[in-house]
Amino acid sequence: MQHPQSPAVPSERSGGQVRTDETTTPPERPPAVRLRNAGLTYGTRELWRGLDLDVSPGEFLAVLGPNGAGKTSLLRVLLGLTPLSTGHVHIAGEPAHRGNDRIGYVPQQRSLRNSSTLRGNDLVGLGLDGHRWGIGLRRRAERARRVREALRAVDATDYARTPVGLLSGGEQQRLRIAQALVSEPSVLLCDEPLLSLDPSHQHRVSELIARRTRASGAATLFVTHEINPVLPLVDRVLYLVNGGFRIGTPDEVMNSATLSELYGTEVEVARVGGRLVVAGAESEHDHHVHEGEAE
């Protein structure tokens, strides 16, 4: 926004000018995630290439595809843990880098190791300052307030002081979402957050993430094999297969023609009893839950 050149300019005009400035030319907000001609190759194996993707603040994007398609690698690229082989990646206008505090991260649900030594609010607090040196004696009140708010936003206030090891998988996952969002990130990355949860908890956790995505204005990338709890909630889908990809709304991507073309083989997408079933694509979507439970 430009400052008025002189205070002597008639007030009605200057006032009008300022208002117009604010409404017609908002400061250009960069997309939360921007990938340009991005490619990732491990040795001779090409995971994907030529990936152009913009994810806007508040957008909920599902990242789907078979095992080994490079979904988790994509998240690692955004986290700055793996460099791209080609192209560029920007997070909230800045090149991706390690330890980016613009990103919140929710990992696979698995029982928190040794977690009887920590309570819910401690876990959430680590999301705020766990990467900082020192013991954190300053600004305790401000920290406590933000942790409380984050817990309330995911309806986890009731077990804020319970040892995490005593909580169910769904409760632990709620705390992790609060942990990822407490620092008010621009981007929320979820890597299989529904694994080993039962169907009703899968739905609740998916809905919670969708709700928090809209409310917080974070762009969410949600890697999952569990398409059914998520598809009704997402804005767009990124489907990765064999080095190729499709980006579009769930209806544009999740149909027999598109997936057959992407897989290069006959794939059928059918609606069975309200559930979407992908047949012919290694039938990943059906058995993955059990793998998770076997851990």
Partner: protein, 294 residues
């Protein structure tokens, strides 16, 4: 048996205890124990959370080897123990990067270190009683120079631990998320192993290499039984370690029983009580939260 009963009957001989407290070597011993209790109490909850009990044991064995070597060449025992523990921490950090190998690496290294230590003691022409104390501790042998060294090492360990505290806690609980947040996991692991090594070496002089776990592990294991708050766990662990270390020396003075017997007994007693209290607490908490939905 009679010897034990006779010795124990002197525990409450406060006159004798008071008289012994007047000696400088006893005061130095108490100072050393207090420094050790503070350091080990702070580190113990992290050792337990990071599942490093066996690593502490392995490090202590190599501290013993270092101390044995120091005795042989005539350098201070504490310096020797420190050197041994640092070598141990580096070796374990270097060879045990992969989690599934860590156990076996420690087993292999510690048995070799113990054997080497025995050889070094055998080569030493000094009388055997002196050597035995490296394994089970000999608090009365702490000199004022040792106390100074212990104090300095304790301060350094505490400062570095305070600096690393939050990332260490984060990495111990959820290394994946911590790495995503930019916590340098690959750096923290060896640095913490080094801290544990230094603290363990300090313990070798007081309770001996074999029993150092009574201070480096048990107080933390007891504390995390009764609280899930990291701050409370650290405070409790320090209190428990001080009770064991300082209390053990005070009780051992009049009876003349080895210090380590009392230190380990107090430490284990606290652990048992905390297990019972912790069991009741979990029962209460699970009943309380069972009504909570996801």
């Amino acid at each position: 048996m009679n010897r034990l009963l006779e010795a124990l009957s002197r525990i409450f001989d406060f006159g004798l205890t008071g008289e012994l407290l007047g000696y400088p070597f006893v005061q130095q011993a108490l100072l050393a124990a207090a420094a050790l209790g503070l350091v080990s109490g702070v580190l113990a909850p992290l050792v337990v959370t990071r599942r490093m009990s066996f690593a502490v044991h392995g490090t202590a064995e190599l501290a013993f080897t270092g101390a044995a070597a120091a005795l042989l060449v005539g350098v201070g025992v504490t310096i020797g123990a420190l050197a041994g523990a640092v070598v141990a921490a580096l070796l374990l950090g270097l060879l045990g990067q992969r989690e599934h190998e860590r156990d076996s690496v420690i087993g292999a290294v510690l048995s070799f270190g113990l054997g080497l230590g025995v050889l070094l003691l055998w080569m030493n022409p000094e009388r055997a009683a002196n050597k035995f104390t490296l394994l089970v501790g000999q608090i009365v042998g702490v000199s004022s120079a040792d106390v100074t060294l212990l104090g300095v090492a304790a301060v350094v360990v505490l400062l570095v631990t305070a600096l690393l505290y939050r990332p260490l806690l984060f990495a111990s609980l959820d290394s994946e998320v911590a790495a995503a947040r930019g916590v340098p996991i690959g750096l923290l692991t060896p640095v913490f192993a080094l801290l544990v090594g230094v603290a363990t070496a300090l313990g070798v002089h007081v309770v001996g290499a074999l029993l150092v776990m009574a201070l480096m592990v048990t107080p933390g294991a007891a504390a995390v039984r009764v609280t899930a708050s990291p701050v409370k766990a650290t405070v409790l662990s320090v209190v428990f370690a001080e009770l064991a270390a300082v209390g053990g020396i005070l009780l051992s003075l009049a009876p003349g029983v080895p210090v380590s017997a009392f230190v380990t007994a107090i430490s284990f007693g606290i652990y048992l009580v905390c297990r019972v209290v912790g069991g009741l607490r979990v029962k209460r908490l699970t009943r309380g939260s069972s009504a909570v939905a996801v």
